[in-house]
Amino acid sequence: MAKAAASKTAPAASPSVERRPALAGRSTAATGVKVEVLPSAERISLRAPEASVAALSKALGVTLPKKPKTSASKGKRTALWLGPDEWLVIDEAGNDPLADCAGVAALHSAVGISHRNIAIAVTGAGAAATINAGCPQDLSLDAFPVGAASRTILGKAEIVVLRTAVDAFRVECWRSFSDYVFTFLSEGSRDAAV
């Protein structure tokens, strides 16, 4: 809706400078758990009242979930319910959801945060135990099924957890916390593996 929203954070033709994501390529593997930093993705923080959800869903090509602690995916695009009027939209195919929202007239706020977050994949049989080293939520499949998503705590940092498969999680955190979160998860994986 806002004019400024149309200005993409993703570079157009060819920037003369390179992108240097934090922790790029870092990973650790313990028996049964792998912790690895995921490639860059496009992201927006989307805020909107109930009445705008349909229009935004249509523009984004993914139905914004209305149920707490859930997410919805279509292709490489995932919308995570973070709050009653808040979604984190992640696009792993390089398509900018900010641009998709720019044309929506319905009341909303879309803010580009592609660079704000870092994603870390925690996969393997010990994945839940690894995150539970510092996250107090119940990550059993009953309480946190595949597709479940939540903002929560890991040690002293805030994270967003998305369960992408039975034994796989995507953990997002702010860039400057990524070293802490990655190190924490690595420590957790050491312990979960034994």
Partner: protein
Amino acid sequence: MLLIRCPYCEEERPELEFRNAGEAHIARSVNIAGETDDDFEKFFFIRSNPKGIIYERWRHMHGCARFFNAVRDTVTDKFVMTYKAGEPKPSKLPGVAK
């Protein structure tokens, strides 16, 4: 660590995700600039600090990030109930006599 039911997330979540935000149902006057010193004192400084049932604001800081209201017993430290911000003070409390 307590479990606190977030009225927006519709489930109990660990206390670490929450932050207390002081007493609830203390409305800021829409004409605050015109308030007397006494009224402003009551609004800004005076809190009830009861032994027993207290109405508090909490924020699900590291969850849905919403502020909400909670009824808690300061003697047992137990949460009696929680409800959304803007909802009226509950007239009946579950499990509380009187």
